[in-house]
């Protein structure tokens, strides 16, 4: 803290400097106003500058790179407009990776929301040892996607019956051989299977969000509804669920942007393989394997845009509802 202290005193000294013993009243009023906002600004300045440089500055730098002709480490960075952005769409690999990311997102977000909501509903109905269940469901979140990926890579191994391991071996032993499948190695629906470990990992978190949402509904409201003769089902339908909308939206945003940027889970499960290619992996390969900075930056910009499409409306909505509140 000594640093910030120094900053404030410095600020005070600066504002005191121009003022001689007694100025005209107008000046004094201005001085008072400055005294009101300046210390706050000075306190915040380091983080504003840091965010300005390291977040927005680098985003700007990245976009500039994406608009340039720097397709090798030594190529000159001439401005080429949107060429890199349009070219990407003529590539089979890019389109495939976008399809993969979308399929993954749909299954992951829907799966985690539904499962999380269901678990929260069950816990809300009152269950013995609720704390224990809560902890058990939340635990997977403490594991990194890398660890999850390595374990699930083994669980979802698609080897045929005689060499089966993991879930397929379990199915065969239980006489449910027909359930054994290719998992993420399936050409068309593989990414849906890839979303299963992600759902497993994040459903507990969504459950905690929803549980908090359920608990946020005042008991009086439920009581009032019951007094009015509402059945338990109706209490949920008309009183509790409408209260969950903001939470659902928040969960959707959080899951959605994890999903669009997914990288670690894919790399741990499959590495750099086209069969599970997503934009983040493609970007990494372009930058570090192919040494093509402009293409990497272009993919990064598309990913930023995809997340922005999700987050910006949410931010606007939050700001508006805060103002209203």
């Amino acid at each position: 803290m000594p640093d910030s202290h120094k900053v404030t005193t410095g600020g005070r000294r600066r504002e005191a400097a121009p003022a001689a013993p007694a100025g005209p009243p107008k000046r004094r009023r201005r001085r008072r106003r400055v005294r009101h906002w300046l210390p706050g600004l000075v306190l915040l300045a380091p983080s504003i500058v840091a965010i300005g440089v390291f977040v927005y500055g680098l985003i700007g730098w990245n976009i500039r790179l994406a608009l340039s002709s720097k397709t090798t480490d030594i190529a000159p960075a001439r401005f080429v407009g949107l060429r890199n952005f349009t070219r990407l769409w003529s590539e089979e690999r890019w389109i495939l990776s976008v399809q993969h990311a979308l399929l993954f997102t749909v299954v992951f977000v829907a799966g985690a929301l539904l499962l999380g909501w269901l678990l929260a509903l069950l816990l809300d109905k009152g269950i013995r040892g609720e704390g224990g269940f809560r902890a058990v469901y939340l635990f997977p979140m403490a594991i990194s996607f890398i660890a999850t990926g390595i374990v699930w890579r083994w669980l979802m191994n698609p080897a045929p019956a005689e060499r089966a391991v993991g879930l397929n071996a379990l199915f065969h032993k239980l006489g449910l051989g027909f359930l054994a499948n290719d998992w993420w190695q399936n050409e068309h629906w593989g990414m849906a299977a890839m979303a299963i470990p992600a759902v497993w990992q994040m459903a507990g978190y969504v459950m905690a969000l929803f549980l908090a949402g359920f608990r946020g509904v005042p008991e009086d409201l439920r009581e009032a509804a019951r007094v009015d003769g509402a059945s338990e089902l109706q209490v949920y339908r008309y009183v509790v669920f409408p209260h969950l909308r903001p939470i659902t939206l928040a969960a959707l945003i959080i899951l959605g942007h994890i999903s669009l940027k997914v990288f670690d889970l894919i790399v741990a499960m499959s590495g750099k393989q086209i069969i599970t290619d997503v934009p983040a992996v493609y970007m990494w390969q372009m930058v570090f394997d192919a040494h093509n900075p402009a293409k990497g930056a272009t993919i990064a910009t598309y990913m930023l845009l995809a997340v922005a499409v999700l987050i910006v409306p949410y931010l606007i909505w939050t700001v508006r509802s805060e103002r209203r509140g």
Partner: protein, 429 residues
Amino acid sequence: MQRKRWRLAPTVLIAAGSLVLAGCGGESKPRSTGTTGAAASKVEVFSWWTGGGEAKGLDAMVADFKKKHANIEFVNAAVAGGSGTNAKAVLASRLQAQQPPDSFQGHAGAELQDYIKAGQLEELDSFYDQNQLRSVFPQQLVDQITFEGHVYSVPVNIHRSNVLWYSPQVLKEAGISAPPATIDEFIADLQQVKQKTKKIPLSLGAQWTADHLWESVMLASLGVDGYNALWKSGADWGGQNVTTALQKFAEILKYTNTEAASTDWQLAAKDVVDGKAAFNIMGDWAAGYFKELGKQPETDYKWAASPGTDGVYMWLSDSFTLPKGAKHRDAAVEWLKECASKEGQDLFNPQKGSIPARKDADTSLYKDYLAWALEQWKTNKLAGSMWHGVTANNQWHTDIDTAVGLFLRSKDVGKFQKALVDAAENDAG
């Protein structure tokens, strides 16, 4: 009570969520020690040799180096991670910041082109002349690592890419008496294994092992001259000979294991020594791995040149370079001399499980597979490995990998060849 406590939770949880996200970007730092300090008394060497035989080999070479140069402190700046993926990213940022190590490891050949073009490497022509390296390395090797008339690295070892590993038990069970000598015999044998046994005919790992298989099939189908010609600028990738090679590759893929993408080269190679698979085509680091597993050559596994490539050594090599602006240039040159020396190479290679690039190695040090490899190295024609960095620059290499990956999905030979033609046009030279 409990309900009330949970009312605060959404905010906390959302905040926690963003923290988790923020925490995802962790990056590992190189194990390097600072480079400041007295000049010339130190040499910082960057590699990705951090474990197993390769680390032991490096240690043996370093010990010899210290004996010869007591006044030079050796700083091992190795970064862990298979085939240098992490190391290369760390190296890229150091080179960009103009803080190069005094010498760094890289696959000899076209993989170094990005560094060369960016002016980050010193050429070593006079170093080669002073140390008579042009006569101790095979002529073809020096030719194949020469870029626009200059050499830029010193090969420490030679690995072989085109090796067929097979299980004598499984072959016997399938009624196959000798390893296949041509691609067509190979396909017939795969068919026979499939019909007569329940074993995997050809075990394969993740996508890059298909790239590795691909280069062996290309070499076999096109012949050594045809293969080598592919990597010259203006080469014809659209011809019928390439189409035929790709069709054979497609045919061979039909006999691979379904779980290939879920495994990696170790498990694929292990299937052979465990008697679960008949064949595997992998580089000769597999021999080192089998030794680690305690498997015996001749009984648990045997090897031959990959089908159709007998008499050709598809090589790859780890080499050391001299970056421009190295802080301890003189010490780095001494290190390169160690790497090029007979003693250095004979200390490093038996541990690493590879053979020296020099022709005058002490043959008594190399046993089993390595004895065979050394013999072949002296007599074979040479072809550079595409996948392991000899013939294709980084961009080309990535584009071929993408083409192979898409082909594994689509199995469309026409599209595959078109992608290869485009890649050669865009990236060659």
